[in-house]
């Protein structure tokens, strides 16, 4: 066993430090407050070849894996630049296409995706199917000419405004018509500029550059060429996008947690309240920070294990879930203690530490909430009975 990163991995991990010299946390925050995609940063990532990190070289990418994508996203977040954008597009959509797309799908979507010319988002959640994916009702019915007509509604779709296409999880057989509840799922690349697609904004209560949308599909025509994987057998490949989502978001949480702790330590070393002693000398301040640091590093390690397992094509659910659970909790603790350490300044716009709280708190609930992770671990890993 060897915990050292390769030279290549180290440079990918440290890319975030470099790029933060030009696009730092203050830059990210400006766009987060405007709820607007930081276009120049995205362009820089495209030019530097990072969008195609998980895409094989023959489709314009670099042919690297989950581990490197985790390191990239975590490395950026370490510098206070957390990008959900890299999760929904380059990781979830392009990663899945690279793994399971037909030759035609790969040729169509991957090269322009690597160049940043086409952007992608991922749509699974529905108003009545968040935690319970089995209940999705977005339906692609046969159009009688070998194609499909898509109808239904998705909610909370990140980046649906900037994205050109969404990878949409649908049913091609209604639940009541299939024997196994996991049968009858199909994944499609849906052109969001197409007739029959409309959307409305869901304003989010904390600063975030990526915006969330409700998507409505009204008889949107799709062809067999738009299918990713196999018709009716989409569920089999679904976790090759959901596990990467959990792994990268675990890294993102670890990164934000580290960034917050760095700020807390700086502040606690300087701020003197009683007898000219820095507040960082009080164990009431230092121990929570030390605990948060421990939790973050543990979660980060688990994310790397999950990424390794995924890259080895071994079952990654258990590790991805544990990493995402642990990282979100660790990041929440880290940011919360950072806020505490800043006293009243923790709540001001000027110091900006409270800003980080919304995002890490979100990641306890999304993309899969803490309870569903614990259910999974309890039932599938520990072997306890199901209550719901």
């Amino acid at each position: 066993m060897d915990f050292t990163l390769t030279e290549e991995q180290r440079m990918i991990y440290e890319y975030g430090n470099r790029i933060a010299e030009r696009f730092d946390h203050a830059y990210w925050r400006t766009y987060a407050e405007k709820a607007e995609l930081p276009q120049e940063l995205f362009q820089q990532l495209a030019e530097d070849g990072f969008l195609g990190l998980m895409v094989p070289e023959e489709y314009g990418g670099s042919g690297l894996g989950m581990m490197e994508m985790l390191l990239l996203i975590e490395g950026l977040a370490n510098n206070g630049v957390p990008l959900l954008n890299l999760v929904v597009g380059p990781t979830m959509t392009m990663g899945l296409l690279a793994k399971h797309g037909s030759e035609e799908v790969k040729r169509r979507f991957l090269p322009p995706g690597c160049r940043g010319e086409l952007k992608y988002c991922f749509a699974i959640t529905e108003p009545n199917a968040g935690s319970n994916t089995m209940e999705i009702t977005t339906y692609a019915r046969p159009d009688g000419k070998g194609g499909f007509l898509l109808s239904g509604q998705k909610v909370f779709i990140t980046d649906a405004d900037v994205a050109d296409y969404a990878l949409v999880v649908t049913r091609t057989k209604p639940r009541q018509e299939v024997q196994k509840k996991t049968d009858g799922f199909t994944l499609f690349m849906v052109d969001l500029k197409q007739k029959g697609v409309s959307k409305t904004l869901i304003p989010i209560a904390f600063p975030l550059p990526e915006t969330q949308w409700q998507l409505f599909f009204d008889d949107v025509p799709l062809s067999r060429d738009d299918v990713v994987g196999e018709v009716d057998a989409g569920f089999r490949i679904l976790f090759d996008t959901l596990n990467p989502e959990r792994i990268t978001l675990a890294g993102l949480c670890a990164g934000i947690g580290r960034f917050a702790l760095k700020r807390a330590v700086e502040y606690a070393n300087e701020r003197r309240v009683f007898n000219n002693t820095p507040i960082g000398a009080y164990q009431g301040i230092q121990h929570p920070l030390a605990i948060a640091h421990t939790e973050i590093e543990l979660a980060s390690l688990m994310a790397r294990k999950a990424a390794w397992v995924f890259d080895e094509v071994l079952p990654a659910g258990e590790y991805s879930n544990m990493a995402k659970y642990a990282a979100a909790e660790a990041a929440i603790h880290a940011v919360d203690h950072t806020i505490q350490c800043f006293g009243g300044n923790g709540f001001t716009k000027e110091y900006g530490v409270y800003d980080l709280y919304g995002l890490v708190r979100l990641l306890r609930t999304a993309p899969i909430n803490r309870e569903m992770i614990l259910n999974y671990l309890a039932e599938h890993v520990l072997g306890l009975p199901r209550s719901y």
Binding site: E8, M11, I12, D48, S62, L64
Partner: protein, 249 residues
């Protein structure tokens, strides 16, 4: 033309420097190390000269511990073609580095050496000058613009009074100032190529250079804490204070 770029591994500029409790030096255990920023500018300039067709090969060289390989990889990820590590655990002082570089220059025969004007750890600002002197080559330090035409070098340099332009024959030594260029980020394809680029490892002994330190470090201390500033009410008051309190005008 081949360009040689010396790159130094230093404590990252973001790290808050801590003096060892015994005053023997600066704490570098578990501290993030990076390429000296002025050397990044040097690498960038060399790559630009290669991209412009002026140079044919960019060779990065680093002197020091085995981990200097990381610094070389970073240079190669920016676009340097290969690396040379002169490996030693001995503390290297500017004169020793200049001698090592001279030996590497004799071996490699570059047409140009581009170094950083100083390293952000000891800020000595000596190596480039010493190297030029040892080689008997012309030098242009603190370059803010470099142009190569017909085997001649035109360098604009930042001096106290403004800008000075020098014309030098090649081969020559240049040292870079901050405003020469803005170094690029290593792109992912270049990071991946970097691992396939070769690094030659040499030693001071093999180069016939004695690197024994000539200077002894007596004690390293934190600089005195800066006192809090004062707000002055007017320009007149400022002038009065500068004249009578600070006694600088």
């Amino acid at each position: 033309m081949k360009i040689l770029v010396p790159v130094k591994r230093v404590v990252d500029y973001n790290v808050k420097i801590r003096v060892k409790p015994d005053g023997s030096g600066v704490d570098t255990a578990n501290v993030k190390m990076s390429m000296n920023p002025f050397d990044e500018i040097a690498v960038e300039e060399a790559i630009r000269l290669k991209e412009a067709g002026v140079a044919s090969e960019v060779v990065a060289v680093s002197c020091g511990v085995a981990q200097c390989q990381e610094t070389l990889r970073a240079a190669m990820a920016m676009g340097a073609d290969r690396g040379i590590l002169v490996q030693t655990d001995v503390e290297l002082q500017p004169l020793a580095v200049a001698k090592l570089l001279k030996a590497v220059v004799e071996k490699e025969q570059p047409g140009l050496v581009i170094a950083g004007k100083q390293a952000i750890d000891d800020d000595a600002n000596q190596t480039g000058q010493m190297l030029a002197a040892l080689l008997g080559w012309p030098q242009a330090t603190f370059a803010s613009k470099v142009v190569v035409t017909d085997g001649k070098l035109t360098v604009t340099r930042e001096v106290d009074g403004g800008l000075e332009t020098l014309e030098l024959p090649l081969p020559a030594v240049i040292t870079t100032d901050l405003r020469l260029n803005e170094p690029r980020f290593a792109t992912l394809p270049n990071i991946m190529k970097a691992k396939k680029k070769p690094i030659d490892t040499l030693t001071p002994e093999a180069l016939g250079v004695d690197v024994t330190p000539r200077l002894a470090t007596l004690k390293v201390e934190e600089p005195p804490k800066r006192k809090a500033g004062v707000m002055v009410g007017s320009v007149d008051e400022l002038i009065e204070k500068l004249r009578n309190e600070a006694k600088v005008i």
